[in-house]
Every structure is written in structure tokens, then in C-alpha cells.
Amino acid sequence: MLSVAPESVTPAYEQIVTQVIGAIREGALAAGARLPTVRQLAGDLGLATNTVARAYRELEARGFVVTNGRKGTVVSAPPAEPLTDEIDAAATLFVKSAQRSGLDLAAALGVIRSAW
């Protein structure tokens, strides 16, 4: 269930965004699940449709949902987790070594594939 606390200092649209993301991460909303229409959610939560539409736009911008015509707003495949600092540093190191050795991108990716 989604709930909105009108007395909270957090804006209502942010409360929706946080809870939907939580539901997606916990697996309560699987990829492909259809979210309620903006009008349905606004009516049930007693909010303006613009508020819910803003929450959906925010979710879409962050890659958690996609909106497409007849299907409405559906949960997208979970966005890739951000790289950790360790992997980021290792990747930078690898790219520099590869460039020093004169490898192009395709050859460098080949090295990674063979090592995978």
C-alpha cells in the first residue's frame, strides 16, 4: 500500500517516489508491473493529478518506470547499480594500461571478454 502524510515536510510527490522505488527494490513491484493511472492514484490519495504526474515524471527520469501510450506507466528493468569506487579505479587503471599498450576499444573489450 502507498500512503501519503499531508502534514509531512516532505512534498507529496517525493513521498510517492520514495515508496515506489522502495517497492521496486523490495520486489513488490516487478519489472513490467503496471502502475495505477495518474487519475486513479490522485483520486485514491486525495492529491492533485499534477502532483502524481510529477512523481511519475521523476520516476521515469531516474529510470525506474517507462511510460508508453496504451500500456500506461510500467516498471522498467531495474537500473544498473552505480559503480563502486573500487571498480571505477580498476577500470581507469585498465584503460590507461590498454592505451599505453596501443590497444583500441574493441581490442580492450576483447581482453575483458576473455578474462570474464
Binding site: 500500500m1 502507498l2 500512503s3 501519503v4 502524510a5 499531508p6 515506489v20 517497492a23 513488490a28 513491484l29 508491473a33 503496471r34 502502475l35 495505477p36 493511472t37 487519475r39 486513479q40 492514484l41 483520486g43 485514491d44 490519495l45 486525495g46 492529491l47 500506461g72
Partner: protein
């Protein structure tokens, strides 16, 4: 209307059209007035019927809101019937034919009015602002076959247009009858699109009750409204299209095969109606809606 006065006595002769209008108005006002006067009893009766059919508990803390919701529906129903009866009845009385159309259109007015009434806010004060994270869909409330039949019925106006165009090319009807036929089909298509839109709006309609029993009531009341909209909309689209083609086939100049096509369309429409009726009767305990729409709603 002619008025003759003889020594203080007034003798009034109504024309045929005026006479029909007066009769229509008399019965209409009487019927609508009685329905409006006893609407509280009708609301209580509907509540008992839904509770018995769906085996629902009392709405508890939401009882007052439930009665208000049912009252809004009942008010909308009476207004819907009144509007259709008076507007369409006046047109038909004026034209002097086609009164059976009333039988088709009154259920449409009743279902549409009920749906519009259901969409009115019931003014729940300080309600919990909670919502389910699932999209309400028609598939949750009515049987799959009902949805397919509705989709088929909504295609009937298009089929009727194709038939009329083909017949227009094959025959040599009067231009006026062709225009009337297309205008009538346009009206049927408009009514079908209104039903389609109403179904979407009823699905999106707000849940204002918050107790577990109240939430279950909201869903069952919605299921009843949607079933009425599907049934009356399907009936109007299918039988209305058949009736227009039938009417056209009886006019001079249209090819003979149009009568056969009208007959086939009418039989199809009656089959659709029959199956819808049987399905609604077989699922009269909302088994489907309880298994789907109430899934996830704590009762």
C-alpha cells in the same frame, strides 16, 4: 392542438404528436417522481442485495460513507433514466416511430447515470490517504468473455456503416434515408464511445473508504457498476446497429440483401445479449471480482 369554446366549456383536441408527448410526459414524471421519492428505500434495498450476493460484512466505520456512495449512484441512475426517457421519448413521440428504442436506451441511461453518480465524491473527511500500487483494470471486475463480447459489440457500429456504404453503392435509396441511417449509426457510435470512456472513469474513480470492509465494498460496488456499463453498452452498440440496418432495409431503394444482413446482425446482437445475461446471472455472487479485484484488499 385545437381549442373550441362553447358557452364556458372548453374542449381541447390534441394533435397526434401532442397526445403522444402528453402521455409520455405523464408517465415519465410519475415514474421519475416515484423513483426519486423512494430513493432511500431503493438504496437500502440495493445495499442488502449487494451484501447478500457478495457475502460482505457490514461496512463498520465506513457505513455512512457507503450509504452516501449508494445514494449518489441511485440519484445518478434516476437522473440518467429521466434524461434518456424525456429527451429520446420526445424525439420518438415526435417522429411517431421507433418507440422500442426506448427499451434499448433506458438501460444505457440508467447505467451511465449510475456510473456518473458513483464518480461524485462522497466527502470522506480526514480519510487515510492510502492507495494500492496496482492499476485497476476491467479484467479484474468482469469475466473475460464479457470483455470480449463488449469488444465485439463495440465493433457493430463500424460493421453497420460498412453494410450501409456497400448497400448504398449497390442500390438507389433516397438520399434522405441514407443520411438518416448514417446519422443514427453516428448516434449509436457516440453512445458506445461514451460507455467506453465511462468504464475508464469508473475504473479510475477514487477509493474514499479506508476500513478493510469499506475497501471491499468499494470494489464490489465498482464491479456492479462496470457490469451494468458493459451490459448496457454492449446491448446498445449491438442491437442499436442492427436496428438501424433493419430500419434502412425497410426503406425503398435499398438492395434486398441488406434485409438479410440486418437479420444476421440482429441475431448476432441477440446472441451477444443472451450470453451477457447468462454470464451475469451465473456470476451473480461476484465470484470473479472477489477473486481478482479484491486480491490484495484485506477483508
Amino acid at each position: 392542438m385545437a381549442v373550441h369554446m362553447f358557452a364556458g366549456a372548453v374542449e381541447v383536441h390534441f394533435g397526434e404528436v401532442t397526445g403522444r408527448l402528453v402521455i409520455l410526459l405523464f408517465f415519465g414524471v410519475a415514474l421519475i417522481g416515484v423513483s426519486w421519492a423512494v430513493r432511500d428505500q431503493l438504496v437500502a434495498k440495493e445495499r442488502r442485495r449487494l451484501q447478500r450476493m457478495a457475502a460482505l460484512p457490514d461496512a463498520g466505520a465506513d457505513e455512512a460513507l457507503l450509504m452516501r456512495r449508494l445514494g449518489q449512484r441511485q440519484g445518478g441512475r434516476v437522473i440518467g433514466i429521466a434524461v434518456v426517457y424525456l429527451v429520446l421519448g420526445a424525439l420518438l413521440a415526435w417522429s411517431g416511430e421507433g418507440l422500442p428504442w426506448l427499451a434499448l436506451c433506458i438501460p444505457f441511461g440508467a447505467a451511465l447515470g449510475t456510473g456518473i453518480g458513483q464518480l461524485q465524491p462522497i466527502g470522506a473527511v480526514g480519510r487515510a490517504r492510502v492507495a494500492q500500487l496496482r492499476r485497476r483494470e476491467l479484467a479484474d471486475y468482469v469475466l473475460p468473455l464479457e470483455r470480449r463480447l463488449l469488444a465485439a459489440a463495440l465493433l457493430c457500429p463500424a460493421v453497420a456503416v460498412i453494410l450501409l456504404v456497400a448497400a448504398l453503392r449497390a442500390g438507389s435509396p433516397r438520399r434522405s434515408s441514407a443520411w438518416i441511417g448514417f446519422a443514427l449509426i453516428g448516434c449509436v457510435a457516440l453512445a458506445a464511445s461514451v460507455i467506453h470512456a465511462a468504464i475508464g472513469r469508473v475504473l479510475d474513480g477514487a477509493v474514499e473508504m479506508s476500513s478493510a470492509a469499506g475497501l471491499a465494498w468499494e470494489e464490489i460496488v465498482r464491479a456492479q457498476t462496470l457490469r451494468d456499463l458493459v451490459g448496457s453498452g454492449g446491448m446498445l452498440a449491438a442491437a442499436g446497429s442492427a436496428a438501424v440496418v433493419w430500419w434502412a432495409s425497410a426503406q425503398p431503394g435499398w438492395p434486398a440483401w441488406l434485409g438479410t444482413a440486418a437479420y444476421v446482425l440482429a441475431v448476432g446482437a441477440f446472441l451477444v445479449l443472451g450470453v451477457l445475461l447468462v454470464l451475469a446471472l451465473r456470476d451473480n455472487h461476484f465470484r470473479w471480482a472477489r477473486a481478482h479485484a479484491l486480491a490484495g484488499v484485506t477483508t
